[in-house]
Symmetry: C2
Subunit: 389 residues, 2 copies
Amino acid sequence: MVINAEKSEFNEDQAACGKLCIRRCEFGIEEDQEWLTVCPEEFLTGHYWALFDGHGGPAAAILAANTLHSCLRRQLEAVVEGMMAAQPPMHLSGRCVCSSDPQFVEEKGIRAEDLVIGALENAFQECDDVIGRELEASGQVGGCTALAAVFLQGKLYVANAGDSRAILVRRDEIRLLSSEFTPETERQRIQQLVAFTYPELLAGEFTRLEFPRRLKGDDLGQKVLFRDHHMTGWSYKQVEKSDLKYPLIHGQGRQARLLGTLAVSRGLGDHQLRVLDTNIQLKPFLLSIPQVTVLDVDQLALQDDDVVVMATDGLWDVLSNEQVALLVRSFLTGNQEDDPHRFSELAKMLVHNTQGKDSGATGEGQVSYDDVSVFVIPLHSQAQEGSGH
Amino acid sequence: MVINAEKSEFNEDQAACGKLCIRRCEFGIEEDQEWLTVCPEEFLTGHYWALFDGHGGPAAAILAANTLHSCLRRQLEAVVEGMMAAQPPMHLSGRCVCSSDPQFVEEKGIRAEDLVIGALENAFQECDDVIGRELEASGQVGGCTALAAVFLQGKLYVANAGDSRAILVRRDEIRLLSSEFTPETERQRIQQLVAFTYPELLAGEFTRLEFPRRLKGDDLGQKVLFRDHHMTGWSYKQVEKSDLKYPLIHGQGRQARLLGTLAVSRGLGDHQLRVLDTNIQLKPFLLSIPQVTVLDVDQLALQDDDVVVMATDGLWDVLSNEQVALLVRSFLTGNQEDDPHRFSELAKMLVHNTQGKDSGATGEGQVSYDDVSVFVIPLHSQAQEGSGH
């Protein structure tokens, strides 16, 4: 369920899902990249869901929704032989150049799932390159967050770059499957980049240091709370004139902005984005690499109503994990198990809950003016389908 | 208990402990830096323990043992007024420049303990600068790891830079109070530095990529397992000639070395250290900043025999956390509570256990040829002494 709210003319949220058909193929062969085509030489089947929350227009989110699965399939096909072995071989060909190669791989603790994680990391980066080229060629701009889930060989992989979120909701448990990447959560990484790699980049416009609020003339000469890139704690420093500049990261919580411009620190696109009225580029501070978590569904002692809820910040800004879990549990308890549409209905109900409707369950009725997208994934049916070959 | 083993002529392990007397003092005033002097204007008392494991000679470890507590005291004295408030004020003077300043501090979640964490982070950096200057002035070389614990206002702060370790041992619990910083645990940080900040630094001598083993001619053209700075997972790449260079991080576990030289990625000193027979400096890859963990002792429901064990890698290389906990519990059960020396005896026993003696309890009798240092800190007596003012 994806809705456009009042914030933008076009829906900046985009979603994609489908079957992933991963074929064993000779490396280097030209191949078409049709999505959801029947693959007679099909080798491994997975399922894919992804949400993209655009900013600066819907272009990047639309491109990502049309592209990321192809990048991922290509990356998985490049390593699929390694994924099928009990332990990935040192050489993809299986040829053993050195007799102790299996031992080296063993010592590094490399498992098949590490190849899927690597494929997701590389697919996000490849997709970011594609978006950069496509936007430039078509004279469009914009960026988007990306949250992708892949069910493969009995495991659910969740890859996140941005501020969307996925959680597992069970009868007696809520488990986070992603964490958010914002200017606040990535403060040290961003301050370090400014300190070591791009000291000239801010062109004297910004201060790297974090203060509890933006400083002003009255603070000059006073000792105020601050922290720099090397600190997780706080200290005091005497305020100098350069500390009065605009902060690298400004604002709190949902209002926090990187260089006064962006609310997220990871995502795809934004190759052309500059700070308003300056020549300062945002891209060097943004990571297109996701953090990947792995849920071993086969080890989970699954119950019928175990679901994964994936949603953009439009949902999470107005509903907490606990509120969502309450809504999920009460909906699934009250809706018959034999209704094939109950999970889609649940997704709709969650979205409606952000619009001040159906707010009985939470009793709060907070309203989201941001676009909202929700996937509800029943794990039981995934596990039953298994990793078809 | 600190012993010199067979590895080096001089003991490269050094230890320091004592009372920390933190005086309220006007910022900017010249002050003497005597250690353990009587302070009539004493304001806040803490306790301090630290271990330093030197390499390339004992010089840096000796300097650190003589210096770090002074740096820490100075850093704490610079913020002590803020530490004594229920919430640190935006301005150290307590003056309120903006009426909503307390709210800004509240929103950032800044607590008194964040000032202690910041003081530890700054003290390590300051101490590193002092060591750099002192070693250069005296024509000496070397570096050391640093693990420091501070008991202050009912909390134990553990700051670690290197591969020493502190654990809490209770009757029914083992809790890690530090994690190790080695070329392996900090692989991505080091690869990123090479990729973005110092691409020229390795002067064509090293490859940034990680492979399960060093590659050789026979691997050329094959697709082998690898990962780069953006990956926590693995993928395959076709081996080119440049991949045959010496790896940035080489070897496994205890044998892992950064640039073929160092087994740790954080610590103090090493300002002059270069890769053998080259002009490549190690210092840009080393962090002097510790990771700080906080144990809220007042919230712990302390038992008499709860102890913190701090030790250099000489202990942990031959004894696991579980083995140390077993030794601690069986020793304390068998030794009378009224023996004032039993915790020192326990530290001695742990060290002896690394020398193939007293190995009955573990039944393994592995021998450490590295220097070994152990502090055993009974938490009960700390909490009883409290945070005297």
